[in-house]
Amino acid sequence: MTAGALAAPRVRLGRSARRAAHLLAVLLLVTLAAAALVDLMPGSPSAAILGPTATPEQLAAMDAEYGFDRPFPVRYLDWVGGLLTGDLGRSVQSGQPVLGTILERLPVTLEIALLAVGISLLVAVPLGVYSGARVGGPLDRVVTAGASALMSIPVFVAGVVLIYLLALTTGWFPVSGWAPLSAGLAENLRFAFLPAVALAVGETPTLLRLLRGDVVATLREDFVRTAATRGLPRRYILFRHVLRPSALPLVTMAAVVFGRLLAGSVVVESLFALPGLGGLALQSIPAKDIPVIQGLVVLVAITYVVVNMLVDLGYTVLDPRTRAR
């Protein structure tokens, strides 16, 4: 068994090659599906550009100019070719390069997603550990009920309530908008806080319940009983022995949540008028801004893929059990 460590690199190579093939297939499928789907959508970007007064002839001319009239496979291959050289094309709506447009908005979404995950973890970890340690106790009852209630609040309701309470009534936070980091960290956080909390409302229970369940299960493990019979203090056991094995599933779930938020913070972004990716999607999809949509799809898919790879990697790096196998 101990010798297992020696063979690991060779095997991991094989595994990562398989993994890479898998992820490549995923990317291919996703972009192909996205391209096909957008292709099927009625209306064309030309209509959005030329406006309501455009004549059909004008639209056709514009379609030809942008190549929207070329057969689907040709356009897809062309696009993939561009992708490989790092060229995602230009937005039909704004004429700006897609890559730049996306990269400009990425930090906003990234920041509130990260912040939301951070807030969720900050709340979920202590509450999860302590409520799991005393199942059925008063804290546990309050926390479980609270988690259930929070889970049942739609994010748009949470957002409106937060705006009303913490922005309009008290004026502690701005009601909407964004301040980039260049405006100073404090200012940046002031703007990012409410959206992040609104997102965290829905995600905290997920992490909390995962951790609580894990803690309950871990507490039944022999090694916890062993530690208890050795007279170690309860807090020490909870945070050194019980939390540690749960850390990985927790980190994994946090990563999954993060990925989900990155792709799905549309509601919050539109509510708080954040210049993020969700807003971009919401604006580009109805306008059939195909290059931007494709760019977003690729970004979301790559994010998903990268998050998955990081989780995998995290497991091999962080979990001693998989590390040496």
Partner: protein, 348 residues
């Protein structure tokens, strides 16, 4: 490199089961392990072959590979003269009723959602036996394993103890009237008091139906009790095979010897056993070169690292795979190194 010369068999008739050069590999995180490595043996009608060894030696895998569950990677399994490895899935299904298995964990092998009667009837139903006939056969099989069909028929597995579940599992196999019953650690999960019941039951049904048993167990006492012949496995290979009395009475392989010595005997007055074996079974990912036992063997010599010993006869129906078989060149046991890496602590 064949494992067992086919010639000197005590019985003139062709064996029920002949296994040759069986190889089964698994892909695991970290590489490929050869769980069963060129294993061969024969099993006659109404005979019991015990397959014994420590965990991870490949004995269960051998039993399943014989049943093509899943099929082996190489080698030959001839059952009643038919080459099972060459059969199509459909043909294999036709043969299956004759080749039954009793699993180690009876609870896990019984679908928890089904009633006992349906569980036992499943084999005949699959085999397409006439409906009318099945109910009677099921009742008979249940009765034979000591269960009252009227009482247990409509209950589900979780309502039974481990021993009773094993009885149901045996009834499930018996109802198909098999020729060969592979028993994969059938009593390992049972308490001593229940284990005896199941062992006796298996012996009874074997005698009654003229069954052949491939009896897989890590418990040397149990194997000795049920077997006519015994094969000892170590790290995917058979190291010794032969008549039970000669293997147990005069083990030719140092591993068999050490194994027998290590078995705790429920007798405070039993003679002190030989020196303990040092170390543990090496990883099957990188088995030692040559003789796989050499890293723990008190008799190991340079040749053991270079050349894997083949099975060779050391007596009537007794073969061993060792360059320095205890039977031929009796190395005195006391001359074997007695100090181990482990702190010495003999029994008081």
């Amino acid at each position: 490199m064949t494992s067992e010369p086919p010639t000197p068999l005590p019985r003139p008739e062709p064996p029920l089961l002949r296994v040759e050069n069986l190889v089964k590999r698994f892909r695991v995180p970290g590489g490929v392990i050869e769980a069963v490595s060129r294993v061969g043996f024969t099993l006659g009608r109404a005979q019991t072959l015990g397959l014994v060894g420590e965990s991870g030696c490949g004995k269960s895998t051998t039993g399943r590979a014989v049943l093509q569950l899943p099929p082996p990677d190489a080698g030959s399994v001839r059952f009643r003269g038919e080459e099972l490895t060459a059969l199509s899935r459909r043909d294999m299904r036709r043969v299956r009723p004759s080749l039954q298995i009793v699993w180690q964990d009876p609870r896990s092998a019984l679908n928890p959602g089904r009633r006992v009667r349906d569980l036992v009837a499943e084999g005949p139903v699959i085999a397409g036996r006439p409906r009318a006939e099945i109910a009677g056969r099921v009742d008979a099989a249940l009765a034979e394993v000591g269960l009252n069909p009227a009482e247990v028929g409509d209950r589900r597995p979780h309502e039974f103890s481990g021993g009773q579940c094993q009885r149901i599992a045996i009834a499930r196999a018996l109802v198909l009237e098999p020729d060969l019953l592979v028993c994969d650690e059938p009593v390992a999960s049972l308490d001593v008091s229940v284990q005896a019941q199941v062992i006796n039951l298996l012996q009874d049904v074997k005698a009654r139906h003229g069954l052949s048993l491939l009896f897989i167990s890590h418990d040397l006492g149990v194997v000795r009790n049920v077997s006519d012949r015994v094969a000892v496995m170590y790290l995917g290979r058979i190291v010794e095979i032969g008549d039970v009395d000669s293997v147990y009475g005069a083990p030719a392989h140092p591993y068999t010897r050490a194994l027998l010595d290590a078995v705790p005997v429920p007798d405070p007055l039993a003679p002190p056993p030989g020196p303990p074996l040092k170390g543990e079974v090496p990883s099957p990912l990188r088995p030692p070169s040559g003789c796989r036992f050499r890293t723990r063997c008190p008799l190991a010599q340079p040749v053991c690292a270079e050349q894997a010993p083949d099975l060779r006869p050391v007596g009537d129906d007794h073969q061993v795979a060792c360059h320095f078989s205890l039977k031929e060149s009796p190395v005195s046991r006391s001359s074997a190194p007695s100090r181990t890496a482990v702190q010495d602590g003999g029994p008081r």
